[in-house]
Amino acid sequence: MMRHRLLFLLPVLAFLALAVWFWLGLAPGRDPSLVPTVMIDKEVPSFDLPPLIAGKPGLKSADLKGRLTLINFFASWCVPCRAEHPLLLDLAKDNRIQIDGIAWKNRPEDAAGFLVDLGDPYTLAVADQNGRTGIDFGVYGVPESYLIDKEGRIRYRQVGPFTEDDIQKKLMPLIAELSK
């Protein structure tokens, strides 16, 4: 008889388990539309991109070896990029890291104009006009940023604009660790 009574509890337990699962799904920090990256700890995809402004140096994947780089995919048409921009300008003062900008699916002259208007945090600013390099990284919107270690491996990806919090809590500890 006791065994039967426990059996009746089973649906209740199953319901509770589901309820907890769904409740966790509603956690405030969780973004269900976030596409998880498969690029962490992988070698940076190979690319060779022309500069935004003719005469300046371009950027290719082999250049990333031996330095800690934050690659920031941006575009002049991207509103959240404008929100993120002052934080990047701040971060550019940190000499442990080099920030390079890739203008994703953006006319080079528009992207260059964006940097004239808002300031230029990038050591190198290059154009990925057809977006293929971004797609090779797994970019699905801008801004998106990738931290590349000295061996040329992707160590961190940021989807959407950096916040002060992201930089302090996620990026800075990694920069400290990887710049050793």
């Binding site: 539309s33 596409v35 998880p36 990256t37 498969v38 690029m39 699916k105 057809n130 977006g131 293929r132 797609i135 090779d136 990284f137 797994g138 699905y140 919107g141």
Partner: protein
């Protein structure tokens, strides 16, 4: 004729005439119809990363256009269907596949519904099987009970004016 009566045939006609909307532009299509058909079939199974519940075949997003072009480029270069999908999975992960792959970590997803169905069927089977057993457990009336029953029915027969069904 009522308003709805006039509207209904028109609505039905519109339903019949409208095909499924798709986003592929004529300029994107491959010349080879067999290759284009394969491209369409693959595109329908790939998720648009921007509007995530649409396939890249349905989506008008700019990125979906780029991915459609990549699918067609890979096919023209001689890739198999599986290779084309692997190319995008390498960049965007399994998320890009509208049908998640059948593997260890997706076992519950694929087999879960069948498992629940089996559990339910098992439960019903067990319940049905127990029922005749429960009937068999009923013990017959004892001699004393039988006599008491006879007395009660005899009492009722002695009072025919008592309305039936309203005792107690």
């Amino acid at each position: 004729m009522s308003f709805a009566g006039r509207l209904l045939p028109g609505m039905l006609l519109a339903l019949l005439l409208s095909g499924t909307a798709f986003a592929v532009e004529p300029s994107e299509m491959l010349k080879d119809p067999a290759l284009e058909a394969r491209a369409r079939a693959i595109s329908r199974e790939l998720r648009c990363l921007v509007c995530q519940n649409q396939s890249i075949d349905d989506s008008n997003a700019d990125l979906a256009h780029d991915l459609r072009m990549i699918v067609r480029e890979r096919l023209s270069a001689g890739d198999s269907d599986a290779q084309v999908k692997a190319y995008l999975v390498a960049r965007y992960g399994d998320f890009v596949l509208l049908d998640p792959p059948f593997e260890a970590k997706t076992l519950i997803l694929w087999l879960g519904p069948a498992l629940v169905l089996l559990l339910g069927a098992g439960g019903i089977y067990a319940a049905v099987r127990r029922r005749p057993a429960a009937a068999a457990r009923e013990t017959p009336l004892t001699e004393a009970e039988r006599q008491r029953l006879a007395e009660i029915t005899a009492e009722d027969d002695a009072k025919p004016d008592q309305p039936v069904g309203r005792r107690g």
